[in-house]
C-alpha cells in the first residue's frame, strides 16, 4: 500500500518532478507558485541537484533551454505574467526540438492582474503564446494527486516527443492540500543522441538550433514537427467522462472548474436532469473526438471556465457547432459556485441558453 501524504499542490509538483528524475530547476519568484521553488531550493542541494534562482523569467527559461539541450530533465515554474515572459524561450525550445517541463499556476489577468486563481491562460498555453508554428502538450490537473501524476507524465511525454509539456494549473490547486500517493506513475527514459555532451572527439558536433535561413528548409522542419504533433494527437489524449452514459447535457470543464462542475452534475442528477461531465486532462491534444461522440448523444453543452470563455471555442470547433454551447464562467480570480453551474445546466435543459 503506497504511503499517503498530505501536500500542497505546488509541493506535489516539486516532489513528483524530483521522483521523475528532474535534478535541475531554474525559476523566478511569483505568486501563487513560489512553493515549487521553495521546495526545490530545500531539496535539490541534498540530492545532488541544482536549484538556481535566475535574475528573471527570461533568464530562467533560457537556462532551461541550455539544460534541456544538454540532455537533462529540467523544469521551471511560474504564474501567468511570468509565463508571458518565458514565451520567447518556449518558442526557441519548440524550434530546437528539445524537451522541457514548464508549470503555469495561473492567476487572474491580463497585465499584472491579481493573485487569485484563474484559467485565463488557456489560449496562451494551447494556441502558442510565443511566436511561430508550434505546440506544447498541455496538462490540466484537477487535484493535488494529478499535480503529482501529471508531472511525471509530463516529463515522460516531453522526452518522448522532444517538446515542452506544460502543467496548466491554477492558484487553487496550487495552494490547496490533499492526501496523495507517489507510486502511480512510471518514469520512462529516452535516448538523447542529439544532446550537447561534448563530442569527446568521437562524433561530429551536435548543433541545437532553431535558425533556418532557407525557407524551404524551415518549411520542411515545420512539416516534420507537425507530423510528430499528429502522433501526439493520436496517442496522448486524456480526458475523464463522468456520468456521460445517458447524459443529455454535457458539461465541459478542466482543472478546478471541473471539481465545481462535478458537484453541479450530481445535484442536477438529483433533480432528474441527465447531466454528465467531460473533463479534458490534456488541453492539447484536445479530446475533440470524445466531444464529437458526445454531441451525437446530448442536446446541449455547458462550458464552465474561470475566464471569459476560451476553451469554449475548442468545444464548439470539436462539435462543429452541431449543438448549442453555453458559457458558465467567472473571471479575475472569482470561482463559480456549484449553484451557478447548476442553474446553467437547468437553463441548458430548458433550451433557453
Amino acid at each position: 500500500m503506497a504511503e499517503r501524504v498530505l501536500m500542497k499542490g505546488n509541493e506535489a509538483i516539486a516532489e513528483a518532478a524530483i521522483r521523475a528524475g528532474c535534478r535541475h530547476y531554474f525559476g523566478y519568484p511569483i505568486t501563487p507558485q513560489t512553493e515549487v521553488a521553495a521546495y526545490m531550493a530545500k531539496k535539490m542541494p541534498k540530492i545532488g541537484g541544482v536549484f538556481l534562482q535566475a535574475e528573471s523569467e527570461i533568464a530562467s527559461i533560457n537556462m532551461v533551454y541550455g539544460a534541456a539541450a544538454a540532455g537533462m530533465r529540467v523544469m521551471t515554474s511560474s504564474s501567468s505574467p511570468g509565463i508571458s515572459l518565458k514565451s520567447e524561450g518556449l518558442s526557441y525550445i519548440a524550434g530546437s526540438d528539445v524537451p522541457a517541463f514548464v508549470v503555469n499556476v495561473q492567476r487572474g489577468g491580463p497585465g499584472l492582474g491579481g493573485i487569485q486563481p484563474s484559467q485565463s491562460d488557456y489560449f496562451q498555453a494551447t494556441k502558442g503564446g510565443g511566436h511561430g508554428d508550434y505546440r506544447m502538450i498541455v496538462l490540466a490537473p484537477a487535484s493535488v494527486q494529478e499535480m503529482a501524476s501529471l508531472t511525471v507524465k509530463g516529463f515522460n511525454l516531453a522526452d518522448k516527443y522532444r517538446m515542452t509539456a506544460m502543467i496548466l494549473a491554477d492558484g487553487t490547486i496550487g495552494q490547496m492540500m490533499e492526501p496523495i500517493t507517489f507510486e502511480d506513475a512510471e518514469v520512462e527514459t529516452y535516448d538523447k543522441p542529439w544532446a550537447l555532451t561534448g563530442t569527446k572527439m568521437q562524433r561530429p558536433h551536435n548543433i541545437v538550433n532553431s535558425l533556418y535561413l532557407k525557407a524551404d528548409e524551415l518549411e520542411r522542419k515545420n512539416f516534420e514537427r507537425y507530423e510528430r504533433y499528429k502522433v501526439v494527437e493520436e496517442n496522448e489524449v486524456m480526458y475523464e467522462a463522468y456520468m456521460m452514459e445517458d447524459a443529455e447535457i454535457c458539461v465541459t470543464a478542466f482543472g478546478i472548474a471541473a471539481r465545481v462542475a462535478k458537484n453541479a452534475v450530481v445535484s442536477a442528477r438529483r433533480e432528474g436532469v441527465k447531466a454528465g461531465l467531460i473533463r479534458p486532462i490534456t488541453l492539447w491534444p484536445f479530446p475533440a473526438q470524445a466531444l464529437r461522440r458526445a454531441a451525437e448523444q446530448v442536446k446541449s453543452f455547458v462550458c464552465v471556465e474561470l475566464n471569459m470563455g476560451q476553451m469554449i471555442e475548442d468545444v464548439r470547433l470539436a462539435i462543429e457547432c452541431t449543438r448549442p454551447v453555453s458559457l458558465c464562467n467567472r473571471t479575475g480570480g472569482m470561482i463559480p459556485s456549484p449553484d451557478q453551474v447548476l442553474s446553467a445546466i437547468r437553463a441548458a435543459q430548458k433550451g433557453v441558453n
Binding site: H24, N62, A70, S96, N209
Partner: protein, 253 residues
Amino acid sequence: MAIVFQKPRALTDAAFHYCPGCPHGIIHRLVAEAIDSLGIEGETIGVAPVGCAVMAYDYFACDMIEAAHGRAPATATGIKRCRPDSIVFTYQGDGDLASIGMAETVHAAARNENITVIFVNNAIYGMTGGQMAPTSLPGQVTQTSPYGRDVNHCGWPIRVCELLATLEGPEYVARVAVNSVKNVKAAGKAIRKAFQNQIDKKGFSLIEVVSACPTNWGMTPQKALEWVESDMLPYYPLGVYKDRSGAKEADAT
C-alpha cells in the same frame, strides 16, 4: 615540407560568411587556437548569439547551441550547471551582450558562473545593417543615429569591462583589440587565459575584443583598423580590469 601554419582543428571546414575585412574571422581563430592548445575541443560546448556571429555554430567543431538574442549567458548557465566538467563559452556582440542581454551578462558575472564569454565590441549592429549599439561612440553616425549619436538624447556608450569590474563576482575581465599584430597576439593570450580559468574552475571570465565593422562603418578595412586605434581605444582603454587570482601574465596592452 614542414607545416608552419594551418587552420585550427577546432574550426570546421565551413566557409565564413563574414564581410571582407571583418575581424570576426581573426577572433574565431583565436578562440579555436585556445581550444586546440588546451586540448578541450571534445569537452567544449559553445553558445552562439544573435548578431553577425549567429552562424558560429557551423564554424566551431565542438558541440554548439544557438541562443535567443542576449540570452547566451543564461543558456550557458543551464548547460554548465548540468555538465560542470564541460567547457562552456559564449560568443556575443555588443547589441546582444550589452543591450538586450545586459541583465544576463551582469548576473552571470555576479554569480561568477564558471563560463568564458567572448564579447566582440565593434560599436554597431552589424547583421541588421548598421544601427546604433550600446557601445556606439558619441557622435558616431549609424543608420539609427544619422546625425551622430547625441548623448543627451540616447545616452552614453557603456563600458562593459569597467562596469563588470565593480562586481565582486567575476574572476577575470579584460579588454583586448585585434587591430594590430601586437594586439592580436595579446588578445590570443587573454582568450586562452579565459578558457584556462574555466578549466581551473576559477569562474566567470569575459574578454572584450574591440573590433571593427568596415561595412557598416563605411570604411575600408585598413581605415577601420585605424579608426579603432584613433577613436575606439581612447574611449575603451585596453587592459585587465579584474583578475581575482592576481596574476597579470595576460598583458592585454
